[in-house]
């Protein structure tokens, strides 16, 4: 793709153009990274769950973080979002050192995450879930909360913003329902919409497709693409390579705690190290009577 037309194209084209000349190898520098992580390590007892040498996330692109069970994807997510403490390592967001920062502060500066096990707040309405996402609310301060006239107008504009997002995510008919009464897929949608209420620059989705039916998967993919069009950088964890192939501009592959491959989806799918990590090194050979070719991918999810 010629780079001059890319400047005029959609966010997808721009992102792909920016990454077109980036070499496909682990830890490769990106032209405009929103996030850079160095030497991030976390071990649980004797098990090193994460040991990432260097990784950069391109601004404005959809980056997928994939890998087999137990590769350390979610742990890496937890580390860089502050929900878990790294043994060592440094990482920066928008050129600002953020390692060791409290998770709520990270969310405030624009790094918002979702969770693998959806955290819809069950006994609160869909609208209250959404409103909770909005940043800088006056009425969240204890003494201001007592005087509704201080925050009523802000509350209205938040509700308006939330209604817009709920319409986009097809949840507007559920506004008054308890979040606990939504289906699993709808909760995923709600969690994503709620994260957008916080106006993230980088949204980090932990397995957004887990437990979602195929029809809803398509619409979720659409929503993720829309986020990119609106200028939000997306980093998401996923198992499923086919799904990743459809939407991501760049794929980072983790296995046994480290980044083993990086590149555009097509290149990564053909990478021998990736295929080996997913299927085991002997996946093409004949099944033996002992079944040893099946054993490599069976380790548990280390979180």
């Amino acid at each position: 793709m010629p780079s001059d037309s890319a400047a005029l194209g959609t966010a997808a084209e721009q992102a792909q153009a920016a990454l077109a000349n980036v070499e496909a190898r682990p830890g490769v520098p990106k032209p405009d990274p929103i996030m850079v992580a160095d030497h991030v390590r976390r071990s649980f007892g004797g098990l090193t769950a994460v040991d990432v040498e260097h990784v950069e996330i391109q601004r404005g692109a959809i980056t997928a973080l994939i890998g087999p069970n137990g590769a350390g994807k979610t742990t890496f997510f937890n580390l860089i979002t502050g929900f878990d403490n790294a043994d060592e390592g440094k990482w920066s967001f928008n050129d600002r050192q953020v390692s060791g920062m409290a998770p709520y502060k990270l969310a405030r500066i624009g790094m918002v995450r979702t969770f693998q096990l959806t955290k819809a707040l069950s006994r609160m309405t869909v609208m209250d879930n959404m409103r909770l996402g909005a940043k800088g609310q006056t009425g969240e301060r204890f003494f201001a909360a007592i005087f509704p006239f201080l925050w009523n107008s802000q509350e209205k504009s938040i509700a308006q913003h939330a209604t817009g997002l709920l319409e986009r995510f097809n949840l507007h008919e559920k506004v008054g329902d308890f979040a606990g009464s939504l289906s699993g897929g709808q909760r995923k949608l709600l969690e994503m919409a709620r994260a957008l209420m916080a106006d993230p620059e980088l949204i980090m989705l932990d397995e957004p497709m887990a437990g979602v039916n195929p029809a809803l998967k398509q619409s979720l993919l659409g929503h993720i693409k829309t986020m990119r069009e609106e200028g939000t950088t997306v980093l998401f964890v996923e198992h499923d390579m086919d799904m990743v192939h459809d939407i991501s501009d760049w794929v980072i592959v983790m296995a046994q705690g480290s980044v083993i491959a990086e590149g555009p989806p097509d290149a990564v799918m053909k990478d021998k190290a990736v295929i080996d990590a997913y299927l085991g090194a002997h996946h093409d050979s004949q099944l033996t009577e002992t079944g040893e070719s099946l054993t490599d991918s069976s380790n548990g999810d280390a979180r």
Partner: protein, 329 residues
């Protein structure tokens, strides 16, 4: 069998000073447990803090009651910080363990002989603790008694101001929980990591809820000391906290009026069964019980009632069963 005595006594206690004290403690718990999900099993420590603060300031240091009330608020805040800062970053159970231990620690400390000069030891503090308050009594000096409710002039004034306090704190809680602040604490009750991920300082909100609930509880203690003109260390046993929880669950947790209705109901059952059994034994209707058994039997009945409540109406009087039916995660 004197039915009118049973009824008037029950009614007097149902909306009397004890009901107000427990109601205030339960309002505090409602903020902490009902809305924020903090398991504070040491609410009695805050009540004791309120009582002892006014007792010590007025009797031991001979200062004004109004200053003493301020000191009570400050002491409750300090206790909340002391309990909350180390535990609120940890899982919910840690606060529960620490608070229940702390409340016993408080009781055993204040009744110990070592601080007898200041805190009065096992005898507690006795004297004109509430004099500054009783001097403001606007009721006529020749006041005898209300028609049905058997309060003295002094008690009636405490009851009036007590219920005004209950109303004010209920209003405060109502304003808070319908605000964005309340939304955050309810979110914390549901799943604090979700709230953290949206950029809210969950720790600070939990601490605020613990402090507010503690201060409301301390007001229960202040009312107690002022009404009884004495502070007794052994009234601050862990049962107090569990009765306050009973009241909260009876009315319905996370409901603004839950603690009020719960407290009245609790005392109707407790006082009603007590007075009824007492009268029935006197009248010879029941011959297998002694008058001294009544105090214990009524708690047996109360416990049975609580079990029945959990089975048939687990959401309490005001609660919404559909909310309980939702899975909590």
């Amino acid at each position: 069998m004197d039915w009118s005595f049973v009824l008037t006594q029950t009614l007097t206690q149902a909306i009397g000073i004890q009901a107000i004290i427990y109601c205030l403690a339960a309002i505090g718990l409602n903020v902490q447990f009902g809305y924020t999900g903090l398991l504070n099993f040491g609410q009695v420590a805050f009540v004791a803090a309120g009582s002892y603060a006014v007792g010590v300031i007025v009797l031991t240091f001979d200062l004004s009651l109004w200053l003493a009330i301020l000191v009570g608020i400050v002491v409750a805040t300090i206790i909340a910080l002391l309990l909350g800062i180390p535990t609120l970053r940890l899982r919910a159970d840690y606060l529960a363990i620490v608070t229940i231990a702390f409340s016993e620690l408080v009781r055993l400390t204040v009744r110990s002989i070592a601080f007898k000069d200041v805190l009065g030891g096992a005898q507690g503090l006795n004297g004109k603790i509430g004099q500054d308050f009783h001097n403001t009594n606007p009721l006529p000096a020749d006041f005898q008694s209300l028609p049905v409710l058997s309060w003295t002039r002094q008690d009636l004034w405490v009851v009036i101001v007590g219920w005004i306090l209950v109303a004010l704190f209920t209003l405060l809680v109502w304003l808070l929980v319908r605000s964005p602040w309340g939304r955050i604490v309810r979110g914390i009750r549901e799943d604090e990591n979700a709230v953290v991920s949206l950029g809210k300082n969950v720790f600070a909100y939990k601490l605020q809820a613990l402090i507010l609930g503690g201060i409301i509880g301390a007001f229960g203690g202040i009312v107690w000391a002022v009404a009884k003109q004495s502070v007794q260390p052994d009234t601050f046993r862990p049962e107090f906290t569990f009765f306050a929880y009973t009241i909260l669950l009876l009315g319905g947790a996370a409901r603004v009026f839950g603690p009020i209705v719960g407290a009245i109901l609790f005392w109707i059952v407790l006082a009603g069964t007590g007075e009824f059994l007492g009268q029935a034994i006197q009248a010879g209707w029941i011959d297998f019980l002694q008058p001294t058994d009544v105090g214990n039997i009524r708690f047996v009945l109360m416990g049975s009632g609580l079990i029945a409540l959990m089975v048939f109406r687990p959401q309490g009087i005001f609660g919404d069963r559909r909310e309980l039916a939702l899975d909590a995660k």
